[in-house]
């Protein structure tokens, strides 16, 4: 059973590293995606989203760690049509028509879906005879989507598929993806739009500086932000004691300022004011946007990482 491709995980990344010169684009990622999941890789530019997707597609190799897709190597999965992708940068030939582009790509697969079927699903039947060079950016993105549908893949990866689209184009694009995914396809998409991940993914994997800083359902990730942060001036703060207070998710100490992320700000404030010499105590509530910014900012990683990353944060 375990040897059948159908029983393998959609994606299995183990301790994956990838550096470009001095830049650690991916710095130790473990990711397990089951068949049928719709997951978003969320993070700011440079978080390692594209590098991660490239490795899943076999476009790049990890310097360290292993990548397995449907129980096989990425290139084996691609050559069997089990994985396809809509990439940010993948180009199309301007001098082919939309139909020719789809026909050509279909000819490369052992058992492609019918060209007309795919054009219809991507909503570009009316563009079939137009030269690709004459299609708008959003229309070209739908062509790429049509190409990705051809092999009827078990896993589809999309790298910022709606970048540069207007609001309506974005909504249409996602409704096409979503209705397609209802048939059980596994979808992994990269985005830096919080609302896109929230609206279309069942699971959100938050990346920062090449690491996973949070991984859970949209609700779980949202709950990461539902707490408050408590700041205070406190000389020689004891990080371990502060971390062990109920509800505390992270403690950051910068000089004589402490910053505590917590679900129970009252308990932290009470402790600080009664058991320590803390002064200038501030309590700030944050929203989803704050959590995203906090988790993905360029500052040193807070302690929330390890706990959020193993999914027990909620």
């Amino acid at each position: 059973m375990a040897d059948e491709p159908g029983s393998a995980a959609a994606i299995d990344l183990h301790n994956v590293h990838r550096t470009f010169g001095a830049i650690r684009a991916v710095d130790g990622i473990d990711l397990h995606l089951e068949l049928g999941e719709i997951a978003a890789l969320l993070g700011p530019n440079g978080a390692g989203k594209t590098t991660t997707i490239d490795m899943i597609l076999g476009l790049g190799r990890p310097d360290q760690g292993s990548v397995s897709v449907l129980g096989m190597s990425p290139s084996a999965a691609v050559s069997r049509g089990l994985v396809s992708a809509v990439m940010q940068t993948g180009g199309l030939l301007k001098d082919l028509t939309v139909r020719e582009t789809v026909r050509l790509t279909a000819s490369l697969y052992a058992e492609p879906r019918p060209v007309d079927d795919v054009l219809d699903r991507a909503g570009i039947t009316h563009l079939a005879n137009r030269l690709v060079g004459k299609c708008s950016g959003g229309e070209q993105q739908r062509v790429r989507f049509a190409l990705a549908l051809l092999p009827d893949p078990a896993l589809m990866a999309l790298d910022e598929p709606t970048a540069g689209m207007d609001v309506e184009g974005r909504r249409d694009f996602w409704s096409a993806i979503r209705s397609d995914a209802e048939r059980g396809r596994t979808v992994l998409f990269a985005t830096h739009y919080l609302e896109e991940a929230d609206a279309y993914a069942d699971r959100i994997i938050l990346l920062r500086q090449g690491r996973i800083v949070a991984d859970g359902t949209a609700a779980e990730v949202r709950s990461l932000s539902s707490g408050r942060s408590v700041r205070a001036s406190l000389a020689e703060a004891d990080k371990r004691t502060l971390s062990s207070l109920p509800g505390v998710r992270s403690v950051e100490i910068r000089g004589d300022r402490v910053l505590i992320q917590t679900m129970d700000s009252d308990a932290v404030a009470r402790y600080l004011l009664t058991a320590t010499a803390a002064h200038d105590v501030e309590i700030v509530a944050h929203n989803l946007e704050d959590a995203f910014l906090a988790l993905t900012s360029d500052e040193p990683a807070p302690a929330v990482e390890s706990r959020a990353a193993d999914g027990s944060a909620a």
């Binding site: 068949l35 049509g81 993948g90 180009g91 082919l96």
Partner: protein
């Protein structure tokens, strides 16, 4: 488990395509693309014919006939030139595909690099064949006299030249990240042609150029293509020239191709 996976073909039965994705639909769409690119077609078919008419005027003066450079020899030289031009531009199409990001898109499909290269070379060779045929038709109309077997043999050998230059075109296509790669290559082809003795006999070149001539990639090809017409002794270095240049260009193209795909 299978209920969760879309499609009519179960995962475990999915196969890679035969022949690395090489197929006739791909080839025919590639040919259609080439034909749609009117400038390439015009250049590769019209330029050799114009050259042929130009050298016809030259021949009338009798200067070339006097040293055994017959109308047939000129025609074969120009056919080699046409095949070279056609095959180089066919191969160089990869530069446009790289610039537009198509090569990267293809890497998301089962297409194997060898199948892709084979398609590119075939398309380039087809264009080369067309070019040789057009030059020969003009030659026949113009009254070039050769034995029927010589027409066929020299034609095939001139066409074989396109294999050397399909590799050259691929090499250039991976070397130059330009959409106007042919504008950069054309002067190089001009030098190859002149020094390789395609248009005028090498014996008429200044002596330093005569020394360089055997090292041109065109030299061996042109000499072999003319052999059925000219006769005499067959110089094995001609064959060596063809083999080494083809291998050299192909190896260079392969190295750059690898570099290209690794960059990801």
């Amino acid at each position: 488990m299978s209920a969760k996976v879309p499609g009519t073909v179960p995962l475990a039965e999915r196969q890679a395509p035969p022949m690395g994705g090489f197929n006739l639909t791909f080839l025919s769409i590639e040919v259609r693309r080439l034909v749609r690119n009117r400038r390439t077609v015009m250049v590769t078919l019209v330029v050799p014919v114009v050259l042929f008419l130009l050298f016809k005027a030259n021949r009338r003066s009798g200067a070339l006939e006097g040293i055994g450079f017959t109308a047939g020899a000129t025609m074969i030289g120009i056919a080699v030139y046409g095949a070279m031009l056609a095959a180089t531009s066919g191969g160089a199409m990869v530069s446009i595909e790289r610039a537009q990001g198509w090569s990267r898109q293809l890497r998301l499909t089962p297409l194997r690099p060898a199948a892709y290269i084979a398609i590119k070379i075939l398309v380039a060779m087809l264009l080369g064949l067309t070019s040789v045929t057009v030059v020969y038709i003009f030659g026949a109309i113009d009254g070039v006299q050769m034995a029927p077997s010589t027409w066929v043999l020299t034609g095939i050998l001139a066409w074989a030249a396109s294999l050397v230059f399909a590799s050259f075109g691929l090499f250039m296509g991976y070397l130059l990240p330009s959409e106007n790669v042919m504008q950069i290559i054309s002067p190089v082809l001009g030098v190859f042609s002149l020094l390789g003795g395609l248009f005028i006999p090498i014996g008429l070149l200044p002596s330093i150029m005569q020394d360089i001539a055997p090292f041109m990639p065109t030299y061996g090809v042109a000499s072999i293509a003319r052999y059925p017409l000219v006769g005499g002794s067959f110089d094995p270095t001609w064959l060596l020239s063809v083999v080494l240049w083809t291998a050299g260009f192909a190896a260079a193209a392969m190295i750059l191709f690898r570099r290209d795909t690794r960059r990801a």
